[in-house]
Every structure is written in C-alpha cells, then in structure tokens.
C-alpha cells in the first residue's frame, strides 16, 4: 500500500519473453515510444499479488476475476500479476484475448479426432508459438507421462517441447495439440515430486466472457457456432474447472471485445451470463476502478517526466483540471487525450 501510484519498470528482456502477444496495442506503442515499459502499481494488482503469496498450493487453484468499467486497467493489472508469477518461476499459460478465438476466424476445420467439433489451426499454432517463447526453460524439463494416440504418434517420455513443435509445424492437428498440452500441465502441476519436476501453473485468460458467450462464426450450413463446439474454447473451459492443484487462475472480463453484450455491462454476472457464472463459482472478484487523486497525480507526473505532455497549457494548473474533467480520471481516456496534447 506504500507503493500505490508508483511506476514499476518491466525489464525489457522479460517483456519480450513473457508478453509476445499479451499487452494491449496502445501500451505496446507506449513502450516503443518511451523506450521502457512502465506499469503503475495499483491496489487491485497489489491485492492479487498478496493473495498469490498467501495461497495454499496443495489445494485446488483459486479463481480470481478482475472486473470493472471500460478502460479502467484490468488487462494491465492482470499483466502486472502475471509478471510477478513469471519472476517467481511459474509456468505461464496466457491467453491474451479469448475474444479473438470466437470471431473473425478465416479457417474453421471440422475436427479430425472428434465429430461435431471445429478446429482453428491458425489461432492454435499462433498460441503454441507464443507459449514456446514464454516457457522455454520448461519445455525440456516437463516429461510426457503417457501415450497420446491420435492419428499422429507421440511416444511416452517425450519432452513437452517436441509436442509443441509438432503442433506448430502441423497446422491441422494444432488444436488437439493445445488440448493435450493443457491436459498434461494440469496433471503435472501439483502431482509432480519435489525437486526438479515441481512447478506452479498460472493460467491467465483475458476476455473470459468469450468462453461462455456467443460466437460470430458460422458452420458450413450457415448456422451459428456455439462456443462449446470449438476445440480451443472447450479445452480452456476444462482448465477453468478447479479439479487440479498447484497453481492459480487469473482472469479478467472485457466488454470491448465481447459479442452481443451492451456497452454498459461490466459486472461478472452480466458479462459471463448464467452458464459462465455457474461454471466459475466460487471465485474471488477483484474490482478495478478509475484513478484516484494520488494515482492521477502520479500518471500526470510520469507523462511530464517522459516529455509526453507537450502543449504548454496542459502543463499548467488549469490544464490539469481540464484533463481531469475531460477524462474523469479514466486511465485509457486520459492516455488518448494526452497523446495529442
């Protein structure tokens, strides 16, 4: 609580490894412009990190849901907490935006292994590539425990890295590879012996409401697809259940990418729907709101320090009051305003 409002610099090497796809596009632009990636330390992120420190990892994982109005900083808090997990040496499973998997899909193949399921080879192989970049040191350590018999063969005892490579190279079976990888990680997270084999699993999903909402994808006979029928979504839903142990599930809701939800909806019950809420219960809700006085002050000083607020009026007292009025201390609106001032 002493650190709220102060800016925490993410080391550049960590950003490249941990977030190949994870950060919001405007924040990536900001990193490029200022030559450094700085996240403001805020109460929701501190709360999450304190829960992660105190949790008992022999029990099933706790599910944390970050919710709040549009543009208040849910994705940033999630990234901050995820970076903490990375520094502690956890294995990271990060889905940067689940909404991208339920809309605008160019190729929707019927699944090779199961009828009435649909595969998304491009999204699945993209995710596997990112997973490989993030968790490189784990790929050789984690051993496959049993045979995975699909049309392609993978023998017992092969390291996880080979499985991931196979998924990246062969696009057709990449969605099934994703499912297998997730199942492996679930089984191995808590159950492994101490010493080298043990690791903690952090599952981070942004845009959680995509898993239980509607899709905008159509099947070949022009009927709407249900999220249940997509292999990727089905596998991620299995991860969300707390029937494994030795990790944590961090999620954030998002209205901006969601389909068929009104713009005023931001509470978990509204965005997740009945089915989603029942599946995710019980969870720990963490609310994210606009900046308070101290945080706004800190953001303003950071922009001044980085030479970002150029207009002479914005550096005066009255200009600051105008900025507060125009943005209502909403982080994303303030960022967009200061961009051209």
């Amino acid at each position: 609580n002493l650190h709220t409002g102060q800016y925490y610099t993410l080391p550049a090497a960590h950003i490249q490894k941990l977030f190949p796809h994870g950060l919001p596009p405007r924040f990536q632009l900001q990193i490029k412009t200022f030559n450094e990636g700085c996240v403001m330390v805020r109460p929701p992120a501190l709360e999450l990190i304190s829960y992660l420190k105190k949790a008992d990892y022999s029990k099933p994982p706790l599910r944390y849901i970050l919710y709040g109005d549009v543009g208040t900083g849910k994705t940033m808090c999630l990234s901050h907490a995820l970076h903490y997990c990375y520094t502690q040496g956890w294995l990271i499973v990060h889905i940067s935006d689940a909404h991208l998997w339920v809309k605008n899909c160019k190729e929707l193949l019927p699944s090779s292994s199961r009828p009435s399921r649909f595969d998304q080879p491009i999204q699945a192989s993209q995710w596997l590539k990112n997973f490989k970049i993030t968790n490189e040191r784990f790929l050789s350590k984690v051993q496959l425990g049993y045979v995975w018999t699909k049309r392609e063969r993978t023998e017992k005892g092969q390291p996880l890295g080979e499985l991931v490579d196979q998924g990246v190279n062969r696009m057709k079976s990449s969605s099934d590879v994703v499912g297998a990888v997730l199942r492996e990680l679930r089984l191995q997270a808590g159950g492994a012996t101490e010493g080298e084999g043990a690791f903690k699993l952090a599952v981070a999903v942004d845009g959680l409401n995509a898993l239980w909402g509607k899709t905008s994808l159509k099947k070949e006979d022009r009927t709407m697809c249900e999220p249940e029928e997509l292999t990727l979504i089905h596998n991620v839903r299995k991860m969300m259940k707390n029937n494994w142990s030795g990790g944590a599930i961090l999620t954030a809701l998002s209205q901006t990418g969601s389909l068929f939800k009104p713009q005023s909806a931001y509470l978990p019950s509204e965005l997740l729907g009945e089915e989603g809420f029942d599946n995710m219960e019980p969870f720990v809700p963490v609310s994210v709101s606009n900046y308070n006085e101290k945080e706004f002050e800190s953001c303003y000083l950071y922009y001044l320090d980085r030479n970002w607020l150029q207009h002479s009026h914005s550096r005066s007292e009255e200009g600051k009051k105008e900025l507060i009025f125009l943005s209502n201390k909403n982080p994303s609106i303030l960022e967009r305003l200061c961009a051209f001032l």
């Binding site: 412009t33 970002w308 207009h311």
Partner: protein, 228 residues
Amino acid sequence: MAASVRHLLKPWTPSLCLMRWSRYNPYYLDPDPSKDARVPESELSPEEKELQELKTVSPIKAALSSDTSSAFNDPLISKFINMMMHDGNKILARGIMTQTLETIKRKQVEKYHKSPAAKREEIECNPYTVFHQALENCKPIIGLASVQKGGKSYQVPVPLTDNRRRFLAMKWLITECRDNKHRRTHMYEKLSQELLAAFTNEGNVVKRKHDLHKMAEANRAYAHYRWW
C-alpha cells in the same frame, strides 16, 4: 383541404434558422471565446478602449460549435481540420488531425529518448510547434496571376495576402498527401511524414513552393503588366 390551401397564403419562413450561415449585418462583431483576464483601464490605448466600449454595446455573431474557451483551442488547427473535412464529416477530419499530431509526437519523442543527452535539446517534440513551423515553411512569398494582354495571357508575379498564402500552404499539403503517396498508407501517416519533412525544409510541398518562386523569378519581366 382548407388547411392545405391555407399554407399557400402565408409567407414561407424556414423552420430552422442556421445562425452561422445567415448574412450578418456588418456591425456585428466576431466572438472571442478565449478566457483573457480583463486588462485594467489605464493600460489600454485609446483605440483599444473604443473596442472595449463597442464590445459592451454592439451585438456579436453566434459562436461556432467547434470553438472552445479552453487554451487548447488553436484557430490554425481548426482551419486545417475544416479544409480536410469532406461531406461535412468533421468527426473524421478531427480524428485524423489528432492522430497526425500523435504520430508526430511519437516519432519525435522516440528520437528524443534514443538520442544522447547532447542532441536532445535540438529535437522539437511539441507537435503544435512542428505544425506551425512546417506550415510557415510551406507558405509561398510571391504568387502568379494570369493577366491577358494583347490577346495573349501571361503569368505575372503578384504579391499574395496572408490568408491566400495560408490557404495555399494548407491546400498543397492536403492534395500532396491525398494524391502522391502510396495507396495503402493512412492519411495521418502521410500527413505526419509530410509535416516532419516540411519542418526541416525538405519534401514535395516545399519543393512546390520553391518551383513557384522560381517561376515568379523567371517571369520578372512581366511584373509591369500588373495594374493593382
């Protein structure tokens, strides 16, 4: 039937009265939205005192909805936005302008942070000063007018008013960006490239200004054909 005939008898008056486009009587004054502190009476010269008197007494035209009283309002930028506007879509034009300013600032701030401390002071990061300076660099000093004499029309070098110069600079910038750039780039990218080039006196618009000056210099002999 009586009702439909009745409306032909009374004179037609428009139901909407657009204040800004109606012709104002010349004694109407222009609105000044800025929040200036009132200078005390003693420091004003007699003309300015007269102006102040007029302002209290005479009527003032309606203010445009795009003018704000905050100091962020810039008349040059508003004029440029109006010139870029197409079909009255001011929202799009203003969006492009803000994106342009943002891109200019990003490029300059990136250069600033990557350069060593010695060179940092020379880099101009303020997009507004870059815009004003670039526009100044694009304004032609002298223009050409077509004058007919003895059956033949000659291009005569002619002085330009301030408004005309400003208009020409903005027009050249916009047409250059619309026509001569790669099809797939966004307008704000094209504009920011042109503005940054004009800021350092490079680029196609400044070249066009120089071409105009050379033509005027070449046609010096015809300067006497001007009678105004």
